[in-house]
């Protein structure tokens, strides 16, 4: 019996030891096996959720099976490495289930709602891969408004406001105003006097905002009847745009036209507040047809040196036919011949006797964008003789000796006109009785814009002035928030930009590829390499950072609106009807993962600590960090780069506190690690962009970027890691956005890279294995010298989609670039003989031969054999027809030098003597 008992006991002990051994087999340092596996399995669910909606039945079933298999494998794994490997295998299996996009695609002409869905897919990818950065708050604010003002609406309308001027009214005098004529004017302030109203020649927003009071253009916006949105209405136009060449009936066209108002037919006249006799001649002058064209011509003529002219000429979105050529042809002044080719025309249609403005874009536009692009660059009609009278230099500004002010040098067709401009004191506008909607809108009789410099250095100055009854509106500063947040005069506004902590999530290898000595984005010297922190490359660590920030607490303390969104609420998914993208289902799905189990703004201390545990477990398993002890913890440092010195006080300490509190809690690593967050601040506000974010020289960096709020799907270009797409304005780094395997994007049952789908929805894309590809690639094989002194080289031209691509090489020029700089402005070049051999499947092999004399001549540039100068190269000229559309005179250039002839003895002696 005893023996039996001993055996049983031994068996029980052995079983106990075995189970104890089995428990200790799990090597995860900071998270137990079940939790770790649950989180990794959850990642598979997130992948599945992000793509399932766009999968066809067959692929959906395959992906479901892959996910289930993956989860089973994760469950069966016994170590951290095995779990990670099981996840990787499942992820690869999911990718393999969905075919990649291959071919030519365009989704530009889809309905707005479908394009919004695609934006949602792109946003979801960006949020999951952290290339959106961590959003903190939107720059909306608590604003106090004088109760003497009746607002157009009490509820702020995104992208429109309260309708204070157009739909509002003032019912009482402002006691502080000593001029009785101005007592019912809307009293606001500027921190400085801009010195001009010439918005087309200004870079900032202040002049444009001031100019907008007296500007009218083709179309405007007014609040809708239900007071919850706004409508686009013809202003100087009489009708909405009609397509001139919508041949396929898809609602898109390159040429659009609309009826316009003129003085002759509609009584539209200019107004001025000037008392100068010469200007009074224009008071009540009818608006003529040619004034509409001249308004554009004024901006676009290069000799006028208007800032917006250069922008107008170089823009790619909403580009107008011939605009760039006209700009380039007007260095010396207006050029009527070149203007003939510009797609901006005002005319009377003899057929119906109506006046029209017609605009021709380089690319097809929808009706809304035709309306939108037709009035950019602070355009308004203006008579040429008025500009000639005041001169282009003084237009909308002061003259040299200040005897003429902007009051004298401006004409208005808008709701207000300039009444006074007392330099550095006040700018006063008066209601324009000749404005198109003068009888029904803008009942407030004027605007008094006080120049109030104290506001620039004192955050509370404007508010103090408001409380004293001197201004009609002011933002509530942080110090006064608690006191005035619930005041009946307080209103909340929505913002136009989301401020974020941008993330450098590159691992060392990716950083080297992008920013190393031969980086594709920027080349950095070895000694200036950024110290990449392994933790920043761990996706779970970044997630933990995001969960640890209490946005609500931060934003409320600063009088801002907490936000996890990448786009601020003024970005419109349906700009014509004023529908904010943030209010769409597509957006809600995109950020759902960020908000799940949080306070509604992505904050959860519990989740933050869990994800820190998860990340540390992974990082330690990878060998990225070695744990310390409670007495001497391993310190993990990273840095936040800030914009302004005041940011340290305003934000850094608070954010540092949030993150360190979450990470350094005993429950995360038991004191084995300590997180320390440092900060960096630049000298000027732009330093954080140019010296840090755009160069990958940061861990986290504060900043915001805004774009065209009516085109959010075009604006997300800045998320791309491809600098051609982002316009060199990528602020977050980590994934290659042209890699469809980095994180799955599925649309229409096909797998895409971010860049490929972005291009497809904005214009068109040539996709190959899901990646965005150029129409063709050209490779150059360097020249070799032949026995007879001639040189032979070659180009290999490959089409990505040979079925719809044809290339015609028509010239190869041998160039001496050095002589360009010493000569007449054109570099020295000579055509060379070449042969084209079609190799099939869109492959062309182009060989060329350079005669010996030409090679010898170009080899030394304008120097001598003893002292050769300059570079030579070859330009390959070709015409490309792609999908039925032909681009002529394209150009590919390479630099390659000929051998410098040996120096003859006599020549060498001569050179030495010299």
């Amino acid at each position: 019996m005893k023996k039996l008992l001993a055996i049983v006991l031994a068996l029980v002990m052995a079983l106990g030891m075995f189970s104890a051994f089995a428990e200790t087999a799990w090597d995860g340092a900071y998270m137990d096996e079940d939790d770790f596996k649950a989180y990794i399995a959850y990642d598979l669910d997130v992948v599945f959720d992000s793509i399932s909606e766009q999968l066809g039945e067959e692929n959906l079933a395959k992906v479901e099976a892959a996910v289930e298999e993956g989860k089973a494998a994760i469950d069966a794994a016994t170590t951290v490495a095995e779990v990670e490997a099981a996840y990787d295998a499942a992820y690869a299996a999911i990718l393999a289930c969905v075919p990649t996009a291959d071919g030519l695609y365009t989704y530009k002409k889809l309905e707005d709602s479908e394009r919004t869905n695609i934006l949602g897919i792109l946003e979801r990818y960006a949020v999951t891969t952290s290339i959106t950065g961590m959003s903190l708050y939107e720059n909306g604010a608590y604003q106090m408004i004088n109760p003497r003002i009746t607002l157009g609406t009490e509820n702020y309308i995104t992208g429109y406001g309260f309708g204070t001027l157009p739909e509002g009214a003032i019912t009482e005098d402002l006691e502080y105003e000593t001029n009785p004529d101005w007592a019912r004017y809307y009293h606001i302030m500027e921190t400085s006097d801009p010195g001009t109203l010439n918005a087309p020649n200004d870079q900032g927003s202040q002049v444009g905002d001031m100019y907008s009071y007296m500007q009218a253009t083709f179309f405007g916006t007014f609040m809708n009847e239900t007071k919850d949105g706004y409508d686009w209405v013809p202003e100087l136009a009489k009708t909405k745009p009609e397509a001139v060449n919508d041949e396929d009936g898809d609602g898109m066209a390159t040429t659009w036209r609309w009826e316009i108002r003129t003085g002759e037919d509609d009584g539209l006249v200019y107004t001025t507040g000037s008392e100068l006799e010469s200007r009074q001649a224009f008071n009540g002058r009818p608006v003529a047809l040619e004034d509409y064209e001249f308004g554009f011509k004024l901006i676009l003529t290069q000799a006028n040196q208007f800032y917006r002219g250069s922008e107008f000429a170089t823009t790619k979105t909403g580009a107008v036919v011939g605009a760039k050529d006209y700009y380039n042809a007007t260095e010396n002044g207006y050029n009527d011949e070149a203007w003939e080719k510009v797609g901006l025309k005002a005319y009377k249609d003899e057929a119906d006797g109506k006046n029209y403005f017609e605009i021709t874009f380089t690319e097809e536009q929808t009706r809304f964008y035709a309306m939108y692009y037709g009035q950019m660059y602070f355009y308004q009609p203006i008579p040429q003789e008025f500009v000639e009278l005041v001169t282009v230099k003084n237009y909308l500004g002061f003259n040299e000796d200040t005897t003429e002010s902007p009051v004298d040098n401006a004409l208005s067709v808008g709701p207000y006109y300039l009444e006074r401009w007392d330099s550095d004191q006040q700018v006063v506008y008066k209601k324009n009785p000749n404005y198109v909607f003068a009888d029904t809108k803008y009942s407030i009789p004027g605007i008094h814009d006080k120049i109030f410099p104290a506001a620039a250095s004192d955050k509370t100055a404007t508010f103090t002035e408001f409380l004293a009854g001197h201004f009609d509106t002011a933002r509530i500063p942080d110090e006064y928030l608690n006191e005035y947040r619930n005041d009946p005069r307080t209103h909340t506004t929505k913002g136009n930009s989301v401020f974020k902590l941008n993330i450098n999530a590159c691992d060392a290898e990716t950083w080297e590829y992008m920013f190393g000595t031969d980086g594709v984005v920027k080349q950095t010297a070895k000694e200036d390499y950024w110290d990449i922190k392994p933790c920043m490359g761990n996706h779970h660590f970044v997630q933990a950072l995001s969960y640890s920030i209490n946005r609500s607490d931060l934003a409320v303390a600063k009088g801002r609106v907490p936000s996890v969104n990448y786009l601020s609420s003024n970005y419109m998914s349906d700009p014509e009807n004023g529908m904010s993208y943030d209010a769409t289902e597509a957006h809600e799905k995109a950020v759902a993962g960020l908000l799940e189990d949080t306070d509604g703004y992505g904050y959860s201390l519990e989740l933050a600590r869990d994800y820190f545990r998860l990340a540390l477990t992974e990082l330690e398993a990878e060998g990225a960090y070695t744990p310390g002890t409670a007495e001497e913890p391993t310190e993990i440092h990273f840095e936040i780069a800030w914009m302004y010195p005041t940011d340290e006080e305003d934000y850094h300490n608070q954010i540092k506190n949030y993150i360190e509190t979450a990470f350094n809690d005993e429950s995360v690593s038991g004191g084995a690690y300590k997180l320390v967050i440092d900060y960096w601040v630049g000298n000027t506000w732009s330093d954080v962009y140019y010296n840090k974010l755009m160069l990958g020289q940061y861990d986290l960096g504060f900043g915001s970027i805004s774009g065209n709020s009516l085109d959010p799907i075009g604006f997300v270009s800045v998320l791309s890691s491809d600098q051609d797409i982002s316009g060199s304005f990528t602020l977050n780094w980590g994934v290659d956005t042209n890699d469809p395997d980095a994180y799955p994007i599925v649309y229409n049952d096909l797998r895409w890279s971010f860049d490929a789908l972005y291009n497809a929805v904005n214009s068109q894309v040539i996709a190959s294995k899901g990646q965005n590809k150029p129409q063709l690639t050209i490779e150059y094989t360097p020249i070799v010298k032949n026995e007879d002194g001639t040189y032979t080289g070659s180009f290999t031209v490959a089409s990505t989609l040979p079925d719809i691509t044809s290339i015609e090489v028509f010239d190869i020029e041998c160039c001496n670039y050095e002589r360009y700089y010493n000569g007449d402005g054109n570099y020295d070049e000579a055509p060379v003989e070449f042969e084209v051999e079609a190799k099939g499947e869109g492959l062309l092999y182009v060989t060329f031969t350079v005669p010996a004399e030409l090679a010898e001549d170009y080899a030394t540039g304008s120097g001598t054999s003893a002292e050769p100068a300059g570079d030579t190269g070859f330009d390959l000229y070709y015409n490309l027809t792609f999908n039925g559309s032909t681009s002529n005179g394209l150009y590919y250039s390479v630099t390659d030098n000929f051998e410098v002839p040996e120096v003859a003895e006599a020549e060498a002696t001569e050179a030495a003597a010299e």
């Binding site: 000593t178 001029n179 400085s192 006097d193 010195g195 001009t196 010439n198 870079q203 040196q305 800032y307 917006r308 250069s310 922008e311 170089t314 823009t315 790619k316 003084n394 500004g397 002061f398 003259n399 040299e400 000796d401 200040t402 006074r420 007392d422 330099s423 550095d424 004191q425 006040q426 006080k450 109030f452 410099p453 104290a454 620039a456 250095s457 103090t464 002035e465 409380l467 004293a468 001197h470 000298n683 000027t684 732009s686 962009y689 140019y690 316009g727 060199s728 304005f729 670039y817 050095e818 360009y820 700089y821 570099y827 300059g870 570079d871 190269g873 330009d875 150009y891 250039s893 630099t895």
Partner: protein
């Protein structure tokens, strides 16, 4: 004496030239600003800088060796536009010394101090200064008229009541108030009289305001501007007068039978004024200059505020004219004060040889 005056004026002139040259060079060495945005914004911005003459623009073949030559000549390029047909625009900052030579040439040969670039675009910098200098002058003249007599009276009163409660009170108050900068004082005064009581305007009234509002508009800045001057004159006068009143010749005057009043008015005050008067003269010359911080806080459109604005706007032509005025005024004041000693007290002979 004439030689001494000439020497002092020449010295002041050279000092002005050195100060202006250093200002020009140091200011122009500041880093170049760039807008945030894509190529479209960058090109538009740099084209504008090119039109304003701040940068060079060259059309070059991308990365051709000549770019290195240009980099060596003008420093690393500021911006390179996207490549089009093999070429692109490179933008370089115009070398500082080149700008300096051109600026000096314009000033010397044409008395052309340049034009505003962003503050009031295309307006002559000298016109902008002239439009504003009157605001600063008016304010300072009133301030001097107010502060000098008050300061002298308080000083005399304290000296006559030396070591009494009146003297101690005045001296203590003077010590306290002389330590308070005018921009701190204005914050308190604004808070009380403009915002809490609402008696005075909180900002400088515009030219269109009523006369009464304009008069009220002078009270706060004049008070704040005069405050330290009053304290200074009070302290200085008291010290000088106390010293004189203890001198032997005043005792002699009293023993000769002069009343205290006669002795003070005829002898003590006259002698005490010798060191005080030149500083009053200097103060009058100083009325041409503005008070940078005070003008900015109260929104006075004078040249003091303009100095800060021109710095903020990076409108350097205005900054240089403003700087020239401030420098000339302070150096001229120094010269006049020095020379005035000789006129006030014939015993003092400037630059005279033994």
């Amino acid at each position: 004496m004439g030689k001494y005056v000439l020497k002092r004026i020449l010295l002041a002139f050279f000092t002005t030239v050195i100060i202006l040259s250093l200002t020009f060079i140091l200011v122009k060495l500041l880093p170049f600003d760039r807008p945030i945005g894509g190529d479209q914004q960058q090109i538009a911005y740099f084209d504008k800088q090119y039109n304003l003459g701040y940068v060079y623009r060259f059309k070059l073949v991308k990365d051709a060796p000549v770019v290195e030559e240009y980099n060596a000549k003008y420093g690393e390029y500021l911006y390179r536009s996207p490549v089009e047909r093999g070429s692109c625009f490179y933008y370089y900052k115009v070398p500082v010394m080149e700008q300096y030579v051109s600026w000096v040439k314009n000033v010397v040969t044409k008395w052309d101090w340049g034009y505003s670039k962003s503050f009031q675009p295309n307006v002559a910098a000298s016109v902008i200064i002239m439009n504003r200098i009157w605001y600063s002058m008016r304010l300072n003249i009133i301030s001097v008229i107010f502060s000098v007599p008050l300061g002298l009276l308080l000083g005399i009163w304290a000296a006559l009541k030396k070591n009494t409660l009146t003297d101690h009170t005045i001296s203590t108050m003077v010590m306290i108030f002389i330590s308070v900068p005018s921009f701190v004082l204005i914050c308190f005064v604004l808070r009380i009289f403009a915002y809490d009581l609402g008696w005075l305007p909180s900002t400088w009234p515009a030219d269109t305001a009523t006369t009464w509002t304009k008069i009220k508009g002078y009270i706060i800045p004049v008070f704040c501007l005069s405050f330290s001057s009053v304290c200074y004159y009070c302290r200085y006068t008291r010290a000088e007068l106390c010293e004189v009143m203890e001198s032997d010749y005043l005792l002699l005057a009293r023993t000769k039978g002069l009343t205290r009043r006669q002795a003070i008015v005829r002898h003590a005050l006259k002698n005490a004024m010798v060191p005080i008067f030149p500083s009053i003269l200097g103060e009058f010359i100083g009325i041409l200059g503005g008070s940078m911080i005070l003008e900015n806080l109260y929104g006075i459109p004078g040249i003091g505020k303009l100095f800060i604005l021109s710095l903020n706007y990076k409108d350097y032509d205005i900054l240089f004219v403003d700087m020239a005025i401030f420098t000339t005024i302070s150096l001229l004041a120094g010269v006049v004060v020095d020379l005035s000693y000789g006129f006030i007290d014939p015993r003092i002979r400037m630059g005279a040889k033994k």
